[in-house]
Amino acid sequence: MRDQLNYYAARVSAGLMSRREFMGRAAALGMTAALANTMLSSAVRAAGPQKGGTIRVGIQGGGSGDSLDPAVAANATMTMILRMWGEPLVELAAGGGLDGKVAESWRSSPDARIWTFKVRQGMTFSNGKPVTAEDVLATIERHSGEDTKSGALGLLRDIKSMSVDGDEFTLELGSANADLPYLMADYHLIIQPNGGKDDPTACIGTGPYVLKSADMGVRLVFERNDNHWNGDGNASTIELIVINDDTARVAALQSGQVDMVDRIPPRTAGLVDRAPNITVRKTSGPGHYVFIAHTNTEPFSNPDAMMALKYGMNRQEMVDKILFGYGSVGNDTPINAAYPLYTELPQREYDPDKAAFHWKKSGLDQPVLLRTSDNSFPGAPDAAALFQQSCNAAGVPVEIKREPNDGYWSEVWNKQPFCTSYWGGRPTQDQMYSTAYLSTADWNDTRFNNAEFDKLLIAARAELDEGKRKQMYADMGMILHNTGGLICPMFNDFLDATSDRIAGWDESPGFGLMNYYAPIQMWVAG
């Protein structure tokens, strides 16, 4: 039986049999679907990556107003473009931790304040020039300068000085940061010749592909860079086709016009997966949907009112009805198992009695006003309505105000005291907490201000002992869980889909589509 299945698996990886057919035969031979799937993927991998061919990607997010400058990349399309032609110093590794890209190795001073990155030997940009430590310095300088528009500025604020010694680039921070290498994996921080100061949109980098033609928000074509330092990239040509309409994107995959698409709506994911020759790919990540309240504003400054709302949230119902099961329940912190050094906290459940108790204790009688919009996260108005129902069942009155998509991020989010929103997550706990929960953070969208929390956060940065750090993050999580303005009902999975024409999908940390590396790391099968 095993031989027979191995034969079938080899046929699939050679493109002579569809995945569906294989699963059917495996089932007929009495094999469980999970085992058959594992077998199939190992067979495909054993056949090895095939070079050549064209991979076409249907991706959303892009628009004709997009720029090719890495500093201002702000959507999925722009991020994927950067993955093609450029590389940061380091990148998240498949099993956790980091892989060196432009940096060959890195080390820190014992107090985690001075970090040194060694630039990879013999590396060249796609214009043939060698990569130097000066280029790295110029890049970081461009993203952290006074007048920069870089999306990575927030990560780089603490840099005190930078220097170059031979092929080593050294960063001195104002205060310790044990996570600094993770910050260097940010997708904006693509190393460019002279930091891109001459022409930031030239798309000259060290990536596995080079840009051939670009019609922003429409179609971009890349060709394989044969001089890439470790030979990454399988297809000879990659075409990115921007398809912002969900239905059109899925239809393009079904009709074979593209080989992979990102962001399948959870509502239709089950249907899409049933289509022959298409596989929906689920990646659990740090992204989460939130209900955020300003803890410095009435009635949310009242701890009992906040607690009543937290107990009034039916998290499992949200995962089932809003995410259609493609996600996991939240626990009123922004951290889940996707983060290193994660500790599970006691799960807060929907409890109408406790909600009613806290609401009564708060002494409030005015309904709580929740603002929401379609673009705050997919299904947000429905989630708001569910929340209203579950709160009302506990006697906590909630009113919903539907806001227009237009201007939601400038007029409602981070301005109004209670609204729905989302976070894409960050690679480390420190980054997530520093971005949105440190009392002085720009994006502190819950106006969270807790001296002990701030102290722990700063102390954890300098703590190189992992056990102690883990405990510190657990304590911080607990503080936020109990006193924060964040109600986090669910973590959403990234949902992508690929066709049987391409192979080589693998689990990856970070964003969907294998952290946007799928077109590079997958290959045309058979």
């Binding site: 004709s64 107003g65 033609s213 179609r219 309409d245 016009q257 201007g407």
Partner: protein
């Protein structure tokens, strides 16, 4: 021809005046969009200093009237400005987009107009019999269904199930004309279905109107075949209303394709406009609005002039 020229000149002057009024409307409309332009461009990470710098750079601190005349002055000299989001020249970027939209509209018109007129003639020929009723029923139902739905339905059956035509109408310069036409087959079909009924019904009504006249009866008594009477004698006299409705629909093919372009990801003006509206790129939005308005007014003006020229009664007003 004196009075005719005066009439045409009058129409032209009216059209320009209208365009001017529309430009004011567009400008005011973009002013009352929610959200601040500088904030929208810089996004959530904007610092107060950066916001202030950008506002000054965009001239947002000047009064609206000054800004309007600056803009109008630019437009009159052919300078539509640069896009706020990526700093590209709008006239240049829009040129490519507009040519693609016109390409789509042209082929949709090539299919839809003769088809609509032919179906109209056919409906008159078999008036109140089953072909007439069938044509009306089908075209009226396609005009009643929202175009994005027709788009999705065609996409599913023709694109996904039958695999006859691509579902993403992503044309680019590397394609031959044949490939381009194949790529835009579905959007052309949707646009045709959407505009067919209007033109068909108007042709039918206009010709039926003429068919009541005495000279048609004479033709019939002379023993001419029915289709020849309709085509040679009735149709020329009903050209004015037909041209009117054809022009209206042509204008729709250019300015009303936003939804169809977005559904089929066709890289034309509609999608360009949508992209920039969502980013608050006001110069682009204003420029698009103005171009759309110009196309609309222009085509309607042509319809007016043609109907004047085609009708001696209008050519010599009392």
């Amino acid at each position: 021809m004196g009075p005719t020229m005066t009439l045409v000149a009058q129409r032209l002057a009216l059209g320009i005046l209208l365009l001017f009024l529309v430009s004011i409307l567009i400008f005011v409309g973009t002013l009352i969009l929610p959200g601040d332009v500088a904030q929208s461009i810089l996004g959530q990470s904007a610092t107060p200093e950066a916001l202030a710098n950008l506002r000054a750079e965009l001239g947002l601190n000047e009064p609206a009237v000054t800004r309007y005349f600056d803009w109008l002055g630019g437009v009159l000299t052919g300078d539509l400005g640069t896009a706020l989001t990526n700093g590209r020249d709008i006239a240049e970027a829009m040129g490519t987009r507009l040519s693609r939209t016109l390409f789509l509209a042209f082929w949709a018109a090539v299919v839809a107009v003769p088809l609509a007129i032919f179906l109209g003639l056919l409906a008159v020929r078999y008036r109140d019999r089953w072909p007439d009723k069938l044509i009306s029923a089908i075209t009226l139902s396609t005009i009643s269904i929202p175009e994005f739905l027709i788009g999705y339905v065609l996409m599913y059956f023709v694109g996904v199930k039958l695999g006859w035509a691509p579902t993403v109408a992503n044309i680019h310069d590397g394609m031959s004309l044949g490939q381009k036409l194949h790529t835009i087959a579905l959007p052309v079909a949707v646009l045709t279905l959407v505009v067919l009924a209007h033109m068909m019904r108007m042709t039918r009504a206009a010709i039926l109107n003429v068919m009541q006249s005495a000279y048609i009866e004479t033709a019939e008594l002379k023993g001419l075949p029915m289709f020849q009477i309709i085509w040679k004698h009735a149709f020329p006299n009903s050209i004015a209303p037909v041209v009117n409705v054809v022009m209206l629909n042509l204008a729709y093919l250019v300015v009303g394709v936003v939804v169809v372009e977005v559904v089929f990801t066709y890289p034309g003006m509609g999608q360009y406009l949508v992209d920039h509206v969502s980013k608050r790129d006001l110069p682009v939005v204003q420029a698009c609005g103005l171009v759309f308005a110009a196309v609309y007014i222009g085509l309607n003006m042509i319809a007016d002039i043609v109907s004047i020229l085609a009708n001696p009664r209008l050519r010599h007003p009392k």
